[in-house]
């Protein structure tokens, strides 16, 4: 049993409020109708359009993989850590690793387009930054908590 600490609660609340719930809403919109202006407003910027079909396919692929794989892992991990279970921290660490990975890819592919459109404050918070901050924190904290336990069957 890994009793949830204050930091666990902070990361759960931040993860659910700033990552999970917004991403479920945004990515479901992209998956259901990637060419809608509503979806484009959320993932590129208000009134912006895809640069080309490649840009749309990239966004769609990430959105579908997030909905199928990453977001369920994040949700399960958050439940698991609140229950004090080791598997929760394992899932948290795993979803954090994915969050950092896709953020690096998006930094390299999209920053030159998105950053000028939204500005530094928005980019380094809700558009990109939160995913890196939460991902790194989740990996580090999950590793720390898992080092306290011996995994059991």
């Amino acid at each position: 049993m890994l009793k949830p600490s204050v930091l666990t609660w902070v990361l759960v609340i931040f993860g659910v409020a700033c990552i999970f719930l917004p991403m479920v809403y945004v990515q479901l919109n992209v998956v259901i109708n990637p060419t809608s202006q509503k979806a484009k407003d959320m993932i590129i910027g208000s009134g912006e359009d895809y640069r080309d079909k490649t840009h749309m396919r990239v966004s769609y692929g990430i959105a579908l993989a997030d909905v199928i794989f990453w977001l369920p892992l994040l949700a399960a991990g958050s439940i698991g850590v609140l229950l004090g279970r080791a598997w929760g921290y394992v899932m948290w660490g795993v979803s954090g690793a994915i969050s950092v990975y896709i953020s690096i890819i998006l930094f390299l592919t999209e920053r030159e387009y998105v950053y000028p459109a939204v500005g530094p404050l928005v980019y380094y918070t809700i558009f990109w930054g939160f995913f890196v901050y939460w991902g790194v924190a989740a990996v580090a904290y999950a590793s720390l908590r898992l080092s306290e336990v011996k995994l059991r069957k």
């Binding site: 769609y60 692929g61 660490g93 990975y101 390299l108 080092s147 069957k153």
Partner: protein, 149 residues
């Protein structure tokens, strides 16, 4: 069965080592691509060139970004996993799961992006990385008791 000991490690961990080698094969392809993109396209490691039309260049830029990201994040995690698993340490278990989660996730992204244009590459990526990585996750979890702090 995955916990049956064969030499110094259980069978499941031997399978994990084999899957990690397949994953490192992918990182090797990505590293080579960054060094010599055109030859990497000729060899089939990448699909698009930077000398093609606007759409091809856009895909090439995305593929280059993925290759660079692979060097910056999953490759180091994979090395940590390999060392940790060799030493039967818990950090190897955790890093192994992170590595395999990434190698399940990204081929899915790739398949959803390019199913209509590069279906064969997407299928190869799924069978070379996603499916073995899922097996790797199962093998790691089945042997979670064998790791120490």
């Amino acid at each position: 069965m995955l916990q049956k000991r064969i030499g110094p490690y259980p069978l499941g961990i031997w399978i994990v080592f084999i899957v990690l080698l397949a994953v490192f094969l992918g990182w090797g392809m990505q590293a080579y691509s960054l060094l010599n993109w055109d030859t990497a396209v000729d060899l089939g490691f990448q699909n698009e060139r930077f000398t093609g039309d606007a759409v091809e260049r856009a895909w090439a830029h995305e593929s280059w970004s993925v290759a660079m990201s692979d060097m910056l994040w999953p490759l180091p995690i994979g090395i940590v996993a390999f060392i940790g698993l060799l030493r039967k340490r818990l950090f190897g278990f955790a890093a192994g799961l992170m590595e395999f989660a990434i190698t399940v996730y990204f081929p899915l992204v790739f398949a959803f992006q390019r199913w209509t244009t590069y279906r064969s590459t997407a299928v190869v990526a799924i069978f070379l990385w996603t499916v073995p990585s899922l097996v790797g996750i199962i093998c790691l979890w089945a042997n979670r008791k064998s790791f120490t702090q």
